[in-house]
């Protein structure tokens, strides 16, 4: 492998100092002089007609500057997928869940704004409330959206190969059901924003978002402000995991009210509002039928899935496709049938969350594969290895595994965990389990149909040559993309990471679709690399003219110019540089011509050096309907082994150890790759054991706090052994691909399989609370 200077290292993050010292400012920390504070009126009812909205008293309250409803905001429909624009800023005819937005107020302070909200009087006519998919799909059920009688908001039917035919050659056919629970994103920073519509009609919105691009487009479309007049800036963001990948109501409301009042408007979600806005993991009801041959060959899979979508579509159209398309691989499966239904219910809207659409399906299938392995009397690792895909394989739904270190991952966790010493050999109550998974390295298509570049990047060198400014609209949301893109640019340009300043998350810096679908390392990374190469080319061309050396014989590495042939006499350049900087203490004096001197020459002969890069995926596979969801330039994959202890008397599960191997193609920053693996495991552990958004009979969230909605704490995490596998992805920058989401895929099923190994009980419903496992063990004893 080629030797690198900046990438494949463990350099500290570029935002480490700011975050460790508290210097980093998040959207809720921002303030402007003359700023107003906004608050939302949200529906207390899950389903009701709005008969009348009376804002008189609210408007009269001293300190209130504006009150807006659908009358002021307009009735423009928006959403995530253009095919399902089903949201309005404020409800006009009816409310569809507890939390649906009806009005907003701005006032001189938040207390006044909140008081004014309480003075808005709304007359409702209550409608039947549909809180689960059974009642929503029942014959004669009221339509939550008029356009969708029956409340099926979307359905997907796909078949690759021939499932029924294929079953005939199977020796074992199993059908199992599995259900997860509705999740909350659980990010630490609630959504917050500050909007400022200035005197020239330019709108600037600072927001806690995963995608400045999508927010910019939505705000422009909904409010009718030309897109060139809308600038969206993402300050530091404290996590997103999916729910922040599309525009939210406070972003639009704050912009609207800033435009109307001419003053900056700030709005911040409370934690309860985070739960109401939701847009996190759906509840999936899977029924899987898998057929295998006696020799362990997996032949056929039928997957039927119902998704409880909540009140609106959000990312749900992508979710329903992913819930089908992310099965199959990483196993050689020739026949796969999928039927998916996304149902509207009167609950907060579900959307995308880490491992989008695939996590519950993966948990269901990897547990079923474990059951089948046992029926075959095959070791679960051996069974998986027998069916595993390798680099160059293409799935039956046309996903091209242009690199795939799946076998290496599986063998690594087998050997790294001491699998063969432990499997079936642990004392009762202790167990070990394994699972695999894969995920896209970026959605192959934008969420709206377009030929747009997915990522652009620009590098501008400072006139003294001393600094490299990288501009990208990519979103650093805590995952480390600023560091990764800085490292890629530094490596490609031949300088150190310290020489690069990353300016990111601003629509003024270009187009980038943002931090979702595990796309930024590959896609934004390509753009950053191309911009750096373009910059380097210009510097070297300028240098070649001055030194009369062919540019092909020049390179830059470690901050100095590399002369591939004879080193020319550059003393004239150095003398000129020294003269320009008389009195300065840092004039280069070593034997090498520095990047700084070379870049200075480039500026003197050509003006400001600006390098550009842009990326969109090439031709991707799949011509069938829905192929746009799941096709990707590359796929990451991973395997995990989990060891648990089950308290046989209480049902309490303790995760003792996790061994995780992930094929990220090529690690740009090894520490950051491990961080993403650890974070995924923690989220998967929480989803497996603790997390569930609960509702009362009227559709109100019962546990809208991080006290009663339990994400895993640091103390719940075992020591994790992380193993990085590098398969060198041909479609990735420097061979890199995803790690951010794919790493969560095996966690839940590996825990489920370990629990079975420990106590002989299969759990088909998450979360695996001590009470649920206790009941299952009791049930088993009865039999």
């Amino acid at each position: 492998m080629k030797a690198y200077n900046v990438i494949n290292t463990r350099l500290p993050r570029v935002d480490a100092r700011a975050k460790a010292t508290g210097d980093a400012r998040y959207a809720a920390d921002l303030a402007m002089s003359n700023m107003l504070y906004g608050a939302l009126l949200q529906s207390p009812l899950a389903h009701a007609k709005i008969l009348n909205i009376d804002t008189t008293a609210a408007k009269k309250l001293p300190g209130v500057r504006d009150v807006v409803t659908a009358k002021e905001a307009g009735l423009v429909k928006y959403g995530v997928s253009p095919a399902r624009y089903d949201e309005q800023v404020f409800c006009s005819e009816k409310v569809r869940y507890v939390g649906d937005e009806i009005a907003a107020v701005v006032a001189v302070d938040l207390e006044t704004a909140m008081e004014a909200v309480s003075l808005i009087k709304v007359d409702y006519e209550e409608l039947p409330v549909l809180l689960d998919i059974e009642s929503a799909m029942r014959e004669g059920a009221i339509a939550i959206h008029d356009d969708f009688p029956g409340n099926v908001g979307a359905e997907v039917h796909q078949e690759f190969g021939n499932f029924e035919e294929a079953l005939k050659e199977c020796d074992i056919v199993r059908t199992d059901r599995f259900v997860n629970k509705r999740q909350d994103g659980g990010f630490l920073e609630p959504q917050a924003c500050l909007a400022h519509y200035d005197l020239n009609g330019n709108l600037t919105l600072w927001s806690s978002t995963q995608s400045v691009h999508y927010v910019q487009r939505s705000v422009s479309m909904v409010l009718g402000i030309p897109i060139g007049k809308v600038r969206v800036i993402k300050p530091y963001v404290g996590g997103g995991f999916g729910p922040k990948a599309a525009v939210n109501t406070i972003e639009i409301a704050a912009c609207l009210m800033s435009k109307r009042t001419g003053r900056p408007v700030k709005m911040v979600f409370s934690r309860e509002q985070v739960f109401l806005h939701s847009r996190a993991r759906h509840q999936f009801f899977h029924e899987l039928t898998t057929g295998v041959k006696k020799d362990g060959t997996i032949v056929a899979l039928k997957n039927t899935c119902h998704l409880d979508g909540g009140a609106y579509s959000s990312f749900g159209i992508a979710t329903i496709y992913y819930a089908g398309s992310l099965l199959g691989a990483p196993y050689k499966l020739p026949n796969m049938k999928y039927d998916g239904y996304r149902i509207y219910t009167n609950k907060p809207t579900c959307g995308a969350q880490r491992g989008h659409g695939g996590v519950a399906a993966r948990a269901a299938w990897e547990q079923q594969l474990d059951i089948i392995a046992a029926e075959l009397k095959m070791d679960p690792v051996e069974f998986r290895l027998k069916n595993i895909m390798k680099t160059g394989d293409v799935t039956c739904n046309d996903f091209n595994m242009s690199s795939l270190g799946m076998k290496e991952c599986l063998e690594a966790v087998r050997d790294g965990s001491g699998w063969s010493r432990k499997k079936k050999k642990l004392p009762k109550g202790k167990g070990i389990g394994v699972a695999c998974g894969f995920f896209v390295s970026g959605a192959g298509y934008p969420i709206y149909r377009s030929e747009t570049f997915h990522s652009t990047a620009t590098i501008r060198l400072t006139e003294d040559g001393g600094a490299v400014n990288l501009y990208t609209a990519a979103a650093e949301i805590g995952q480390g993309s600023d560091t990764i893109l800085g490292q890629i640019a530094a490596e490609a340009l031949g300088v150190s990471l310290d020489d690069v300043t990353v300016h990111s998350g601003d629509t003024d810096f270009g187009v980038d679709l943002g931090a979702y679908s595990s796309r930024q390392t590959l896609m934004s990374g390509h753009a950053a690399k191309a911009a750096a190469e373009d910059t380097k080319r210009q510097v070297l061309e300028a240098l070649s003219e001055v030194l009369n050396v062919s540019p092909v014989d020049l390179d830059i590495a470690k901050g100095v110019v590399v002369f591939k042939k004879e080193k020319p006499d550059f003393s004239r350049l150095r003398t000129a540089y020294a003269k320009e900087h008389r009195g300065w203490k840092d004039i280069p004096s070593e034997g090498e011509l520095t990047f700084r001197e070379a870049a200075r020459i480039a500026f003197l002969t050509r003006g400001v050096i600006i390098g550009n890069g842009a990326y969109k995926p090439g031709e991707l596979g799949g011509k069938y309907k829905g192929a746009a969801v799941g096709t990707s330039p590359a796929y990451g994959c991973s395997a995990q082994v989990v060891e648990v202890t089950v308290d046989m008397e209480t049902g309490k599960v303790t995760v003792d150890a996790m061994t995780d191997a992930h094929d990220c193609g090529f690690a740009i920053n090894r520490t950051n790759v491990e961080g993403q693996m650890q974070g995924s495991l923690s989220m998967g552990l929480g989803e497996a054991l603790f997390e569930e958004v609960k509702f009362d009979g009227k559709g109100r969230v019962l546990n809208a706090s991080l006290g009663e909605y339990r994400i895993a704490t640091a103390l719940d995490m075992p020591n994790v052994r992380t193993i990085i596998v590098e398969s060198d992805e041909p479609n990735g920058p420097f061979g890199a691909k995803e790690v951010g989401e794919g790493a969560i895929m095996p966690t839940i099923p590996a825990i489920l399989n370990a629990i079975y190994d420990a106590v002989g009980v299969r759990i088909n419903e998450l979360p695996i609370t001590s009470e649920r496992l206790y009941a299952a063990m009791k049930e088993k004893q009865k039999k």
């Binding site: 207390e111 704490t713 103390l715």
Partner: protein
């Protein structure tokens, strides 16, 4: 958004001054110690004091002192200080254990023993341990002070025998008799930031290393409006020779002595079953420690 309402705040220099304010404002003034419960409830609007009185400038509330062979603990001692105290750990390990189960490391650094008692939450961690230890609390009001056994302190969720204007100043724990052991076990979902699904504290005293049980105490938490003694189970143990069968019998009796509800954290049936399991486990540990203990205390 949960906003903290406006309120006055004062830091009196003497207890007399503090008690005067509390008495003058009746229920409108509240003592603030760690604030981990009070401030949250004020944000939610469930309590609406107009003034908060901090006792941090008043001496004598932040120490853990040996008193005879027992302990006297100031009400403002933090949970971390109790969990980490060598004195508490050696004399009353069951109290140290319950302290180390409370909230998270961050909350333990703020929350106080007094606060954990006066808020009277049915799932509070310290009261069960303190109750099996026979702890008493000292209450000071405008008149003369009084001492109340923790066993008769709680009257319901969030309510106790404390009167408006009274302050809990100290907690006293009597000496441990010879051949005594105890345990506290909390069953929750996570390893931190948990309100118990069920918790049980037990203490056994034997009349000798191989003797019969002369005193048995079992307190069940999170399964009734207040922490409660499992009286019949305690009775079933007293005077008996310890054995696993005896403990199992006592445990199944204890499981009938609770009245849990089904809520977000767990179902009533599961909670009853877990009362049995945890009671048995705490008794086994209590017996193990009691029989290993030398005459004359730890």
């Amino acid at each position: 958004m949960l906003l903290l309402p406006k309120f006055d705040y004062e830091e009196p220099k003497s207890m007399r001054e503090a008690l005067a304010t509390l008495s003058e404002l009746k229920g409108n003034a509240k003592v603030i110690a760690g604030g981990t419960d009070l401030l949250v409830n004020m944000k939610k609007g469930t309590v609406k004091p107009t003034r908060l009185v901090s006792l941090k400038k008043i001496g004598g509330l932040r120490d853990i002192a040996r008193e005879d062979a027992g302990l006297s603990i100031g009400s403002h001692v933090t949970i971390s200080e109790i969990a980490d105290s060598a004195l508490v750990g050696s004399l009353f390990p069951v109290l140290a254990r319950s302290a180390s189960c409370l909230g998270s490391p961050l909350i333990r650094n703020r929350a106080t023993i007094g606060g954990n008692i006066v808020t009277a939450r049915p799932a509070a961690d310290l009261p069960p341990a303190l109750m099996v230890l026979g702890a008493e609390v000292q209450l000071k009001g405008k008149g003369k002070g009084r001492t109340v056994s923790l066993d008769s302190f709680f009257t319901g969720p969030g309510s106790s025998v404390m009167k408006a204007g009274e302050v809990l100043t100290r907690i006293t724990v009597p000496p441990v008799p010879s051949f005594t052991g105890g345990d506290y076990i909390k069953l929750g979902h996570r390893a931190a930031l948990e309100i118990a699904i069920v918790a049980v504290a037990s203490r056994l005293t034997l009349d000798g290393p191989d003797g019969v049980i002369v005193d048995a105490r079992i307190v069940l938490s999170s399964v009734a409006p207040t922490a409660v003694h499992a009286l019949s189970a305690e009775k079933a143990l007293t005077g008996q020779r310890p054995s696993e069968e005896l403990f199992a019998r006592a445990a199944s009796i204890a499981a009938t002595e609770c009245s849990p509800i089904t809520d977000l954290r767990g179902g009533a049936d599961y909670r009853c079953d877990m009362v049995g399991i945890l009671t048995k486990r705490t008794l086994l540990k209590a017996f193990h420690d009691a029989s290993g203990m030398k005459e004359g205390g730890a």
